[in-house]
Symmetry: none
DNA sequence: GTCAATAACTTGTCATACAAATTTGCACCC
DNA sequence: GGGTGCAAATTTGTATGACAAGTTATTGAC
């Protein structure tokens, strides 16, 4: 279903404005919003629009309308803050920050995976590596396949905490289209380097070589950081 | 402000009914709700009530009203799953898993902190170390002060991602009372070792010695893992 | 079968009116 | 001066009618 761009309705505009006033602290829990009649004047809209905006605020858990008394701001339920919700993947510095954290986690994950992997997990890692290489032969970097390889390694730690954190990072780790599609096509040299790095990581893990696994993963992720830092300097 | 019990308004009744139909799967994403005119008939209420209920559904992220076309059910935003929600801090293996992840993150955080700390952050780290030591002289391990020291180091990375992950881990990292209070009092030798390890970490960070910082933090956290693994064996 | 025009339908907004509940103001009493 | 009761004012909840803006379906011409 194709959704065309839409103008904001008056209800949404009033709603956004009132919500901003509440969340910015202009109204505190217990405070009473201006009456509907007053809001109608202030915003220059009909009472219908005001009421629908208030109905939405109520659904947001921000206000409690009381007949005869007014619309009162209430204590918001503690919002579940989504992890990494302020990551801006269009900013290079944001991606570098993520890569630094990722390097910390994945370097250690590679080492643990080299000590703990099962045969089934080895098989999965090999399959994921093949998917990465096949993607590279086709259209360049297949970010999803790349992510799946890293996840397969994290799973081979047999520590669910590593898997969990990488999943959290997952949606943020894939660069936005504008970041990778804006320049020249990926050079064959770079693809070959990535392929080599991936194979070094996988080989070290499958060889059970903890030190080499650590070093190979660190090399790989430092390379990504270096690339982003170069972009930062233009 | 005393809130007396309230009768549900018609809007809330219609809203609850429609929400139930959507969340129970009677309407799937992409489906169109009955028109306002139709809902007015079905529920025997005015169009005002229907519209306010739909405004609330929209605020709930369940529907997308489109002028001229209808009110369409949309894919709900993925519910934020609380991170590490299945960690059981009463299980030794669960704590070891956390410590492994923590080791990965905090070893690298110590290294970054040694390269990036500001004077104000140094001051904070020193203050946090003092709080840990003062707590140790009193009642043994002060876990909150311990956590604050680790957080101060994470903050000195000047990468908000490290701070964010440690905060997530925060509530889980403090051992449950049953785990540390059930045995003998903490030995003075152990306290002295912790104090020494903490000081080695802080000194390496403040000396700007990345390698030493990494090694000291790794030593410290491996020590904790070792202690838990001994407990696992009885 | 395709395209354009028109009609029908649907949501968005405005206005008016009345009902139900709360708050405020005032008169009265102790 | 303080407390109580009642009416008026205020505020939210609901209903109704009308018109605007946009989408979808239908119909007729080519």
């Amino acid at each position: 279903m194709q959704m065309p761009p839409k103008r904001k309705t008056l209800v949404v505009e009033v709603l956004d404005s009132l919500r901003a006033q509440i969340t910015s602290g202009q109204y505190k829990p217990g405070d009473r919003l201006p009456s509907e009649a007053r809001l109608t004047e202030e915003y220059g809209v009909s009472r219908t629009v005001v009421r629908e905006a208030v109905a939405a605020l109520r659904a947001d858990g921000l206000v409690d309308p009381q007949r005869g008394a007014g619309v009162f701001v209430i204590e918001p339920e503690p919002a579940a803050v989504a992890p990494f919700s302020d990551v801006d993947t269009d900013r290079l510095s944001s991606m570098i920050e993520l890569l630094e954290l990722r390097a910390a986690i994945e370097v250690e994950a590679a080492a643990l995976a080299s000590q703990r992997r099962s045969p089934a997990q080895e098989e999965k890692i090999i399959g994921a590596l093949q998917a990465v290489n096949e993607g590279a032969e086709g259209s360049g970097i297949n970010h999803e396949a790349d992510f799946n390889l890293h996840m397969a390694i994290a799973e081979a730690t047999n520590n669910p905490r590593f898997v969990e954190v990488l999943k959290m990072l997952g949606a943020q780790m894939i660069p936005r289209h504008g970041l990778t599609s804006s320049g020249a096509p990926i050079s064959p040299d770079y693809l070959a380097l990535l392929k080599q790095e991936h194979e070094q990581i996988v080989n070290a893990v499958l060889d059970g070589d903890e030190v080499a696994a650590r070093a190979a993963m660190r090399q790989h992720l430092k390379g990504s950081q270096t690339r982003y830092r170069r972009l930062l300097r233009g």
